[in-house]
Symmetry: C2
Subunit: 190 residues, 2 copies
DNA sequence: TTAGGTGTGTTGATTATTCGGCATAATACA
DNA sequence: TGTATTATGCCGAATAATCAACACACCTAA
């Protein structure tokens, strides 16, 4: 991966991604062809193959790109002794979603990719929740396990709802709201 | 001019034109540089010179393109014995404006290019108004001359107002409105 | 069955765009 | 005034995108 991608590459990838996201709103992935994507993106069909092997490869690479960014953000905000890193992390996560809103909408929303969503949840568990658990001295029992699923799924639900309702609130506002929900949830446990 | 322009050329020209139009909304032409245009259009600065000599050359070529299309439309709807060609001509003219709305807005609107607007007026006079005059047996006196300026400036005014108010009406609706105004004007003369 | 239409994956040649750098001109500012 | 700083117009090399064409697979209807 080049440090700075060529301008042309950036533009065509953007066009292709937006076309794919638009198509995914109307039909499932297995009914989407290369020709449809290249037509809607207004690029030559051959150009598609310069970047992706086929449509599935494209979705795969796009998912990985978003996942890597998601992962990086979570990595840079691992909670150490308290939860003061929670808010800035949420802000960055909402920003990431808004920068990839069309694609994120179809990946996370209904008819989304459950496996992809699950990967996101796993990251949060391993990087954040385990630390919170240790920090607050919470036993790793069934109750905590359910609590974890409750919180994380709740966050994903907020993400999806925000994206699908036109992102009227700013990422900052959403981060505030989400932080409040998470913290009150934690307080009931400890 | 190639029959079908390369996809890349279409896209870069569109990007440059939109950037220029956007800049013209904020400052006069002589304060706009190549770098600003290429930055806003998200193209390489060198690419600009593949199409235009400088910013003035760009405006010139863009004006000529629109003017040629304007001229063609008027040519294809020269009124012969009556005014039945007026309405379809107006529809096409409003369509032309909507297809080039950003640029047309700054060329025709306030702070627009008076010389360009005048060229448009001349075309209407020579191609349309002279025929109307003969058809209706109107004397070519001062009164008719003023009438001509009144009608044509009025049309330009409608164009500008429509573009600057967000083009809420369809080209068809605008053509109906404009035709009515013109015809009632003519009826007062003959 | 065959024939016609459509999408796929790939190729080779061509072209437009990118990028970095250059010398110069214009502008700002101490 | 002189001296940075910035924009201009242009260049060569590299490369991404285009286009037309191909063989192939799939489908559908005659």
């Amino acid at each position: 991966m080049a440090l700075t991608e060529d301008r042309r590459v950036r533009k065509t990838k953007k066009a292709m991604t937006e076309a794919l996201a638009k198509l995914l709103l109307t039909k499932p992935l297995n009914n989407i062809g290369v020709r449809e994507i290249s037509d809607m993106a207004d690029i030559n069909r051959g150009t598609f193959y310069l970047h992706y092997r086929d449509v599935y490869d494209m979705v795969d690479k796009l998912q990985n790109e978003i996942f890597e960014k998601f992962n990086d953000i979570v990595d840079n905000h691992e909670p150490k002794k308290n939860t003061e890193e929670l808010f800035p992390m949420l802000v960055e996560l909402f920003n990431l979603l808004s920068e990839n809103s069309e694609l994120a909408k179809v990946l996370i929303g209904k008819n989304g990719d459950a496996a992809f969503v699950d990967k996101l949840k796993q990251v949060i568990r391993e990087k954040c929740f385990v630390n919170v658990q240790k920090t607050f001295g919470i036993k790793n029992d069934d109750e905590f396990n359910y609590f974890y699923h409750y919180i994380v799924s709740g966050c994903i639900g907020i993400f999806s709802a925000w994206l699908n309702s036109g992102m009227k609130e700013t990422p900052l506002e959403m981060a505030e709201l989400t932080e409040k929900l998470i913290l009150t949830g934690i307080s009931t446990l400890s």
